[in-house]
Symmetry: C2
Amino acid sequence: MSLSMHAASVPVFKQMLAALGGVLAKAEAHATERKIDPAALLQSRLFPDMFPLTRQVQVACDFATSVSARLAGEEVPAYEGGDETFADLQQRIAATLAFIGGLDAARFEGSDQREVVLRPGTPKERSIGGQAYLLAYGLPQFFFHVTTAYDLLRHNGVEIGKKDYMGSY
Amino acid sequence: MSLSMHAASVPVFKQMLAALGGVLAKAEAHATERKIDPAALLQSRLFPDMFPLTRQVQVACDFATSVSARLAGEEVPAYEGGDETFADLQQRIAATLAFIGGLDAARFEGSDQREVVLRPGTPKERSIGGQAYLLAYGLPQFFFHVTTAYDLLRHNGVEIGKKDYMGSY
């Protein structure tokens, strides 16, 4: 037996996004306790031309959604909510978990052999096999934004540890 | 067809570690050009109780090595080199790439069903199935340290971008 494309995608995204929700909850509590303006954390960046926390979370959710949808052969859903507050970010995570959790695992079968088009309609458009799309593109991108969200909060003094990043496994 | 355990581990580690070598080369060049003491980057941290850059690289290499070795049913090799300079870190990455590149892909077959013992001999010892060991533990840990090494350098003003993090895919 070997891995299914579903096993290597959706459960990984679920674990890490649920953990990210916990990390954000600790960040919000930290801001409340110390009377810190939540925007000081939400808009913080590790460098001026990097994304702020809000966008790191948004992009992590976008990768989980789009990678899962494309592997399942489904349309990538548009998200209509905002990304301004901690509550908004929790809502986006919840919406992402609901969407990817609702995808039929059977739809992922054979997706390792299916071609996926990256950045369709742009000058950087490129076709890539499903296996590389997940392992060489989707997972590295997803983990980048989840880790950077954590790093940003850690850098700002929120008391979180590796356990919070890893979640339940 | 579905994914092999080898495909979901060794090539991912290789891509990201080769990219990390490139990121570190840019960091070293940045230090040289601006007459910055390399230790200012090598010993930098995002927060006082987080690991410095040297250790982020070391731990990323350790996870790539130990996860690959355990899935292949091989002994985890000890690494005798240092981790003080940029040259040391490049050497560690090269040693890691050589070790994981030398593992026989066939040895990974069935490893998804094999039990792996985490933190053996410690109070936190725990047995976990090979599939979860890779997807729910090894990859998240590995990506954490690769991303944090990148984030640290980015935070310190080294001119690198997502492309440098992603490497060739």
